[in-house]
Structure formats: C-alpha cells, structure tokens
Symmetry: C2
Subunit: 554 residues, 2 copies
C-alpha cells in the first residue's frame, strides 16, 4: 500500500528528436505503465546504425512494477521498439491499443518470432485499471486510423497524454476526436497535460484529411496514362481516398512496395480500408489493362532509395515502369532530412518527363499534426493546471510552451524537459523529479549496443579519410624486421606506389630503431608505427587515414 | 581563318546539380572563352570529399585556344574552381569580371599562392573582343553585387548567358538590370538564350532585396539585448541593410566568422559596403558596450557546425555568447540538404531561450533568383530563337523549358542538356553536338583526384560496418602458421572476445588448409581468409565489416 504522499513519476525515455515521443513511463508506488514504445531513425552522422531505441533499462530494472504497455497509434516512432522490449522482458506484459494498431504490431512481432503477445484491444471510451493507475482512452484523429489519447486517474492526481493528434472535424472514417470526453476530463480537473508539439510553430488550423480527396480525384480523372501515388503506407485514410477516387473514375488499383502491400492487407482484413477485390489487381497483371485504367499505390514518398517509387523512377522495378505519358502524385511531405532524397526522385521523374504533382503544386497532402489553433483549443478544453509539451524538437516544445502561457497556464507550471529530466506529481502538484539515465541504444546489424561514441567516431573517421593497415613482422632476439606490408582502403592515392614505398620505409625505420634500443616494447613500436605513418600521409596528402598498426613477433 | 560553316560549340563542364552552372566553354575555331569556373560541394554519400570541381580536361587539352575566362559573379559555385584551373594552365589567361568579383577572387587566389593573375575589370556596357568572339557585358541583379550577363556575338550567331539573376527594380545600390541593353540585343536578334533556372518552379515575381530592410530595422529596433544576424557573407546588400538598420537605431556592428570578416573587409575597401569605421567594433571589445547597442553580423546561416553562429549557439565561441535576452535573425534560407543543420541551430537557440526570427516568422530573406514571371519577362525581352535552360536541377530545367514553350519558343528549339551533352550553333541555327567527357573531379585533402568510385564505395562500406584487419604469418617450407592477429575499428562488438577468438581460429584453419595442400597460393589464402572472416561476422552479427587480409611469409 503506497503512502499518502507517494509521487506519480513521469519519466520520458529516449527521444533524440522529441521528449515524451517514443516512450514515457508513469510510475506510482509499485505500479508502472508505459505509454508507447517507439524507435528513432539514425542521422547522417551515425553511419552504419540501423535503428535507435530508447534506453529502457529503467523499465527492465523495474519490470516487476510494469502493469501494461499502452500504444497510442501504429506509427513506428511509437511502436518500433516494442519487439526489442518484449524480448528483453522476462514475462508477458499486456499491450493496450486500438484494433488497427494491434494489427500492425502483430506483423512486426511475427517478424521477430515473438509468439502470442498479450494483446488487449481498447477503443474510445475503454476504461482499464492497471494497479493504482486508472486509464480512460478517448478517440483522436491523426494520419493513421485508431489514434487514442489517454486520461490517467491516479492517487497523486490526473493527467492527459494526447498522443499524436490533429483535430479533424471531417475524418474519413467519421470517427472524430471525442471532444465530449476531453471536455468532461477538463471539467473534472486535469493536473497535467502532455500534448503533441510537432506543429506548434505553425499558425492556424491544419486542414482536414478530407480536403485532399477532391484534388486526388481531379488529378486521377484528368490523367492520360497511369497514375502513381506515393504515400506513407500506414496512412490508411489517404490510401482509402486514392482507392475511392480510382474506383470512381473506373481505374484499378495496383499496390507495390513491401510495407504498402503489408499495411493495405492488414487494413483491409480489419475493415479499415474498403475496396472490392475486383478493383485491386496484381502488379504482374498490369500489362493486360490499359494505362488509363490503372492507379499504382506505392511506397517511396520519402525518397527512400530502395522504395518502389525510386526503383520505378530509375527504371529498376521488376514489373512497373513510368513513362512520359504518366502522372506521379507525391502525396506526402518530406520528413526533415529527407528533402534531398525526395528532390532526387523528382529530378529523375523530370527526366522521364511525366506529370508530377506534389504539395507545392496541388493540395495532395495535409499534415497529421494539429497547428497552433488546435493546440490552443486542446488547452482550452483540458484547462490543465500543469503543462508539459511533448513530441517535438526544442523549438517546437518552446513554441508550445509559449502557447500555453497565452492560454493562461502559469509559467511556473510549464515544464519543458530535456533528455533525462523527469516530473513528479503529488496531490495534483507537479515539480521536477530526479534525473534518470535516459539515453538511447543503437541497433547495429543483429546487435543491440550501447551508444558507443568511439565506434561511431571511428566510422566517421574511416569514411572521411579511409584506412591503412600496416603490418610488420619482427623475429629473433634481435627483433629484426622480417616483413612489412602496407594495405590501403578508401584512400584516393592508394595506388601511389612511391608513397607506399615511403610508408614501408618509415615502418622499417621504426622497427630498426626498436631493434637497436634496449627495453623498448612492442607497444611502443606499434605506437611509433602508427604516428610515423599517419604523419607521412598528412605531409604528403593532407589527409589522415586511420592507421591500424599490427606488429607480429615470429 | 575558320571556315564559313565553322560551328560555335557550347560545352557545359561539370555540374552535378545544374548544367551550365559551374563552367561553360564557348569555342569557335581556334578561339575559346570560358564562362565561370565554379565548384560544387559534396553530398552526404561522398564521404571525405572536400570539394568537387568540374572536370576541365577539355579546357586543358585546348589551352592554346583559351582567350579568356569570364566570371559572372563572385559566388563560389562560379569562382571556386578558378585557383585549381589557373594552377593547371601553363600560361596566364585573362580573367574578366566586375570589380567586387575580382576582389573576392583575389583573396582566394592568394590563399593558393597564385601571384599576379591577369585581372581585367569589366562592367555594365564593357565590350571585349576575344578572338572571333565579341562579348558585351550587361548589369544584372542577384544576391551579390556586380552580377553580369554576357551577350556574345560570333560568326556562327549570337547568344546571351544571363548568369545568375533576379530582376530587382529597387536594388540596394541602385544598379538595376540593364533592360535597355537586353531589349536592344533582343531587337538585334539573339539566336540562343542560356538562362538561370533555379526558381523556375516558383510562381510570381521574387521580392526585391529592398523588401527585407524595413523588417530587419523593425526587429533590431525593438530588440532588448544583443541582435545576432546570420547571413551569407557574400550577400553585401543584405549586410549593408543590417549595417544601415544598426546605425539608424544607434547600435554598433560586430563582424565575426572568417568569411564574414574577409568579405566585409574587401567590400568596404572597394566601396560596395558603406559603414563608418566608428560604427564597426572588434568582437573582443563588445563587453564594454551595452547589449542593446550591439548588432553581431555572423556566418552560420546554413547551420555549418564550425560557423560563428553554431559556436555561439553551443557556447563555444571565443568572445561572444547568446543569452535569453538576445535576438537572433537567420537572414537566409537553408540550401537544399542543409535543413537539418539549420534546424539543429534553431533547437540550440530555443534551449537558450532567445528570440529567433527566420523566414517563417518575418520577411528577413528574399531569394536572389528570379521566379517564373521574371523568367518569362527575360524570354519576352530577349525573344531567343533557341533556348537552353541552365543552372538548376532536372526539375527546374524542365519547368523553365515549359515556360519557354508558353513564351512561344518552338519545342524543337529548346535544349534541355544532361551532363556531357553539348550544343553547336551554325548560321544562327542550334543543334545537339557531339558528347564530351564531362565528369567531375574530387578534391580530397591535398589531392585532386579522378572520381574514383571504388574509393567512395569503400568509404561508404567502412562507415557502414567498420573494418577488420586480419594478419597471418606463415613460415617455412611447410607454411606453418606462426602468428594470427585480428584488429577491429568501427565495430560495435570489437570487444567481444569470444567472437575475436572465433575469428582467429577461422584464420588458423584456413592457413592450416593451405599448409596441407599442394600448390595453393598465398593469393588464394588471402581470399579464403577474407571470405571466411566476412562470413563469420555476418553469421554472428548480421553486419559485413570490410576485411583486410594480410598474409606474411616469414
């Protein structure tokens, strides 16, 4: 039985580009609930890293407290760490999420051979008690169906976690944000609001998903040849609108790209995506249908080099190609960092000469996150006593905090957290808690590894200037040099024989010095070889390849 | 004496991201003129490359024809290859450019120890005869003063090269585009127009540089603490407006960042930037002046990690720091590919809590390139018989070509070139010419090197999965293994002793196999070592580090 002044701890984990985005732990006494278990994608300065996970050591150390994992929606930055976490937990913990979210997670877990997870389907209005924490879910709208927010009632106070959201009055499936529930919580009293900050710097109200449909239909209707639509494969409502427009103008839909095939399959099975079997055809069957009767739904809206759109744009797709007579719609916006890749695809398409539509030419995309007016509306409905902006980079968190000030939340009750920061709530009052270890771990091949800065730095260095492997074999008591080898990789002047000979001579000279000195060690020879070869390369080429010195005593 | 039907060859050189941008050769008989000599910057997938130059082998092979080099303006993508080219030429070739352009080039050449270049200052209206080619320069407006376009009169026909331009009716220095000259050429007849396509996808008219001033002044006037303005250091008119606003509200200007210091110095000396000595103070003297009497002009508008703004934002600048009381104006737009770096700086500044202005919040930047209405106006004034869009990615070239069609240029007379393509003009008629070798060369440390794809690929591989150096020494007739060493760099599991032992055992096994077989060569042992270690790592870790096998016979 927890004491009366036990605190509810709010512990964001991970989150390089958005605190409280990938994973947040809520802990009261011996009860802990996790909201989301997502992953991050590596940046350009993290070569060789495949994925980045929140460091959830804290969760593992407190596994006995973990009553459940809540997943607010099916995007990878909220679900992708789940397989790794489940493999690390020693017992099965229930996972609470909407039907589509669970459907998408199921596929991921299968890929990792995780059998029979404890799925618990929840929906708008569901109420779940997890130890001392009572959770009520409410419908939200986002760029994926089934998004949920959570109201949490605890002995230490109440809070709302919005999950990712926009406030869409005309969502494609008619499932609006549950304003009534949100306002009811607001009337009851919400001690802390954690809200999505992604678009906190954008004025106005994000347009409804429904605004996109008529434009898609107009373009598809007037296209001469095939129409290719690239979109996020999880954006089921966007796909629905493409399907609806295609069917309405008498075109068949072809689906290509692995995640597009997977997600449309799951969404159709679960009733989230509605299109008749006869209106969907296989990519290998397109050639028996006229071009102006085809719409291709494909991956690649972010310019991913191996995606279906990239392959088609570069003439490398196994069954589909794009001609000057065709139309390509990029129904998405580049995620920050992907601008160049998307531009690269647009350039390839420009060379083909097809008609290209992106957001700059027609309203073929709207954001899934609420803009400033929606964020203010959320603050007005919830009337939180304390506020913690989540899910955004530093500039978004700050902008959201400024909106909260304008909405009357006292500045001292607004908490902009950095990685490792935590909050504590007692009797409805919030203050900063003790900092926790809250880094990230890297998935590198089959290996989940600590964020080892030396490895990353070495890779950057290798990429920068290449590598020289220098081997010297010394033999006998006198430590005579019996062989020297110098091998280069990733070096522009690797074929400069004169330089290589100089390098070998340098190594020989170092080794001879050792032979003629008393007491000098192999270690110091190794060091001297590295330094002298490194300096030689710098003097001759103004680059500093990594030198790997190997000294063999034979 | 060239024959009557000698062609004027138009040969774009280099240009990964914009044909005819960095360097174009115009050759008639034994006379050749080069327009621009610029460089490119490497992409993320070109690790370790410092700069990229057009491959100007063609120019060197025809050096005896080269009558002059024209530089249209002082930006690096039009001037940066000049030092390398001049070092490769065996004689001094005159360089024609405006005063400021020459001033900026002079600094670059000095850095490369190039003495006494043959500078020939030209300006609006200058006429120069270079062999059979007669050049008339005309004033253009761009994001750097002194931009020039060129009208070329040749025995094979006439052409205009616009250089980079916008059509600014109210340029800060009052030096408007010379519409009268352009229209006169149009009336005389222009057989071919080469025009800047950078903004060919943007509707409307680019705003005047003068539109920025009042906003800068408003922000600077109302700022509480110090104001930091980051801008391109070559954008002298922007700097002028910052200086004017600062002086007008009684603030002193501090200049920081190497290129900002250099360019303001040159521009002041040559009379392009006007600010009294007493209004400029040294960075080390700021502490004796009140914060609200200071404006800092700095580099870093592209988020460059070592720039003044980045250092200040991260608390690493030697003399200046930014506090919550200060204001930062990013008076620029991220060049494609730099979005993330700029966002990183904005995040750092958000954490400091200072006031931040960028283009999304106030009109603190306008483009230096003309939008669609300006491009159409240019086409209307010149009335070219043939058109070649230059200076833009494939999508911009295509958009510009479409504008030309709308403006009445026959489609068959529009030439969208790809790398290596050339044009030929005879009797005013233009057609495609013979393709030339037109690649790029890389500057890698002190080394100007061919674009060696193996080196780049090796570096990418090294960055991806690291490197394993495997050394085995074999001795005697029986080729017994006398030593094995395995060394890892950039590998997450480099400290996995068990794996290292497995690797050594694998190598030993391969070497033993050799010892027991007749006729097997050292080469095949090397190959077997590489393959077996590579497979071991793949099986154990699902990564494929580069394996460097070294076999020593001792």
């Amino acid at each position: 039985m927890p004491k009366k002044d036990t605190a509810l701890k709010i512990i964001p984990l991970g989150g390089l580009d958005g605190i409280g985005k990938n994973m947040t732990a809520f802990e009261y006494g011996d009860d802990m609930v996790l909201v989301d278990a997502g992953l991050m994608f590596p940046e350009d300065d993290q070569p060789g890293i495949d994925l980045i996970l929140p460091d959830y050591t804290y969760v593992l150390e407190n596994e006995h407290k973990l009553r459940g994992i809540v997943i607010t929606h099916g995007h990878e930055d909220h679900t992708g760490a789940l397989p790794y976490l489940l493999m690390d937990l020693t017992r099965k913990v229930p996972i609470y999420a909407a039907k589509l979210t669970l459907g998408m997670i199921a596929g991921k877990l299968e890929e990792h051979n995780i059998r029979q997870p404890k799925f618990r389907e929840v929906q708008d209005g569901s109420n779940v008690t997890l130890g001392a924490l009572n959770l009520t879910f409410f419908a939200m709208t986002h760029s994926i169906p089934g998004a949920l927010g959570v109201f949490m009632n605890t002995p230490a106070g109440t809070l709302i976690h919005t999950g990712d959201f926009k406030l869409d009055q005309t969502p494609i499936d008619g499932r609006r944000p549950n304003y009534q529930a949100i306002c009811k919580f607001g009337a009851l009293g919400v001690d802390l609001l954690l809200a999505d900050s992604t678009n906190a710097t954008r004025p106005g109200f994000t347009q409804s998903e429904a605004a996109v449909g008529p434009n898609l239909r107009h373009i598809i209707k007037n296209a001469k040849g095939r129409v290719f639509v690239a979109s996020f494969s999880s954006h089921i409502h966007r796909l629905q609108q493409v399907c609806d427009a295609s069917v309405a103008v008498g075109r068949k839909v072809v689906v290509t790209g692995r995640s597009m095939v997977n997600n449309t399959k799951v969404a159709r099975e679960l009733g989230y995506l509605n299109i008749a079997d006869e209106d969907i055809i296989d990519a290998f069957d397109v050639d028996r249908i006229d071009d102006d009767k085809i719409v291709v739904l494909c991956t690649g809206s972010q310019g991913e080099p191996l995606s279906a759109l990239a392959r088609m744009a570069n003439g490398e797709h196994k069954s589909l190609s794009i001609t000057a007579n065709d139309t390509v719609i990029i129904s998405a916006t580049p995620v920050p960092g992907n601008e160049k890749s998307v531009q690269g695809i647009i350039n390839s398409l420009s060379k083909i000469g097809c008609d290209i539509y992106d957001k700059s030419r027609a309203l073929v995309h709207v954001s899934g996150h609420g803009s400033q007016e929606e964020l203010k509306l959320m603050l007005a409905m919830v009337k939180p006593r304390n506020f913690m902006p989540v899910h955004g980079e530093a500039c978004h968190l700050r902008a959201h905090a400024e909106l909260a000030v304008k909405m009357g939340v006292p500045e001292k009750n607004i908490f902009v957290l950095d990685n490792g920061d935590t909050l504590e709530m007692r009797h409805g009052k919030v203050r900063r808690g003790r900092a926790v270890e809250s880094g990230v771990v890297y998935v590198d091949g089959g290996n989940v590894t600590d964020a080892n800065p030396v490895v990353i730095r070495d890779r950057q260095k290798l990429a920068q200037d290449g590598v020289v492997s220098v081997t010297v074999a010394i033999s006998g008591k006198r430590k005579n040099v019996s062989a020297v080898e110098v091998t280069c990789r990733g070096i522009s002047f690797g074929s400069d024989e004169e330089l290589m000979e100089e390098a070998r001579a340098t190594v020989r000279a170092q080794a001879d010095k050792l032979a003629n000195s008393d007491g000098a060690s192999i270690d110091s020879l190794r060091r001297n070889v590295r330094n002298s070869v490194s300096n030689l390369f710098w003097n001759r080429t103004h680059t500093r390849p990594m030198v790997i010195p190997v000294v063999l005593e034979v």
